[in-house]
Amino acid sequence: MNPHPPPGVVFGTRRRIAHGVPVVTKQQPEDEGLVARMQSGDFDAFEEFFNTYKRPVYTTALAITRDPFLAEEILQDCFVKAYRVRQRLRTDCSPLPWLQRVTTNLCYSRIARRRAVAEPLTALISNLVADLTSRPDQIAESREIIEVLQRGIDALPPKQQTAVILYYLHGYSLAEAAEIAECNVGTMKSRLHYALKALRALLPAERRAPAGAAKVSTGEL
């Protein structure tokens, strides 16, 4: 085993090194020394740690569960766990990837997978197609398309769902998302690809894009 793990690797060092994930989570100036202070028993540091990272953790939990109360419970569990294992947290890199990983694991262990029910979804798509004939421009950007996508996101397998949330909601880079999900960049790309493919398949062809936006102009490239 490599005796010098790259910085940015918080937990699961062996696997991560084997994947050769690029180092992406350098410690930010604002959280420099925060973990070290926590480890030395500084309670104020833990509060600061909570306030620094509560937002991204809560956002991930809420995006996965869609339940504010459950998301808050998961937020609390995540930080309680961080406090308990604070002595094992790396001090030379950001703890955020680890927190996000714990959050996603807590989410999927707490909630039963909520598969989209085929019947209402089919009915919803049929309604969309019916509406399309009457008001194509307005309907195409209606809330219902978003609702179809929301159900589609819920129906995604957990790994693809996590990939979509990390990449498209949080805006992490591929390497950062891969680091959080403990996979390599190629796998992360693949998960996103299949997630988009699944979501696109949910929408009928005529409704996949808002009117007027379905064609890319060559000038944009």
Binding site: V80, L149, S217
Partner: protein, 187 residues
């Protein structure tokens, strides 16, 4: 260039914010001349935009409550640390279960040892042939399996040394009377 190759390159550009390099010019040229590909790429781009909106809607207007930190603090910092005695007591509750496990393992090991030793008793040469024929056809085992044997996933291996099966072995194998003595267990 095929539509498939061109779309793959351009879609990656939109999906993963990848830079278009000099090698992408051929793909772009294809896109300029192919309305189907332009539409396909446009649909994909719009899907990504809609997906971002959908995800944003999930979290908009929500934030952790002010009580969240108080709850976390109660479960961590304010939680009274248990004295050593209480922790020992907690582990002490597991002591009877641990003792029971060790005893069961010991009994199982001893029984297994006894069974192995009994089946490996030495046999004088030629004794196999001198066994009574009536006894040879008696299938009744001369030992009672221990109670735990019924919980084994594999049935017990029949022993042949000293048992009734030993007498049948020469017939089964078709060997002559000068066959060396058999002992041990069939594998």
């Amino acid at each position: 260039m095929s539509c498939r190759r061109a779309r793959r390159e351009i879609l990656e550009h939109f999906r993963f914010r990848q830079e278009l390099g000099p090698s992408s010019s051929a793909h772009l040229e294809h896109l300029v001349g192919c309305a189907d590909c332009r539409e396909e790429v446009g649909i994909d781009r719009a899907l990504v935009e809609q997906l971002r909106r959908a995800l944003q809607e999930r979290v908009e207007g929500h934030a952790p409550s002010a009580a969240a930190w108080d709850q976390v603090r109660q479960r961590t910092i304010d939680r009274p640390s248990r004295p050593l005695g209480a922790r020992v007591l907690q582990w002490g509750r597991l002591f009877p279960a641990a003792i029971a496990g060790v005893l069961m393992f010991a009994i199982a090991t001893v029984s297994q040892e006894g069974l192995s030793q009994g089946s490996q008793s030495p046999q004088p040469a030629g004794q196999v042939q001198q066994l009574d024929t009536a006894a040879a056809v008696d299938d009744t085992p001369d030992w009672e399996p221990p109670w735990w044997m019924k919980y084994r996933t594999r049935p017990p291996v029949p022993t042949i040394a000293g048992g009734p099966m030993a007498a049948q072995l020469p017939d089964m194998l078709g060997t002559s009377a000068d066959m060396p003595p058999v002992s041990g267990r069939l594998q």
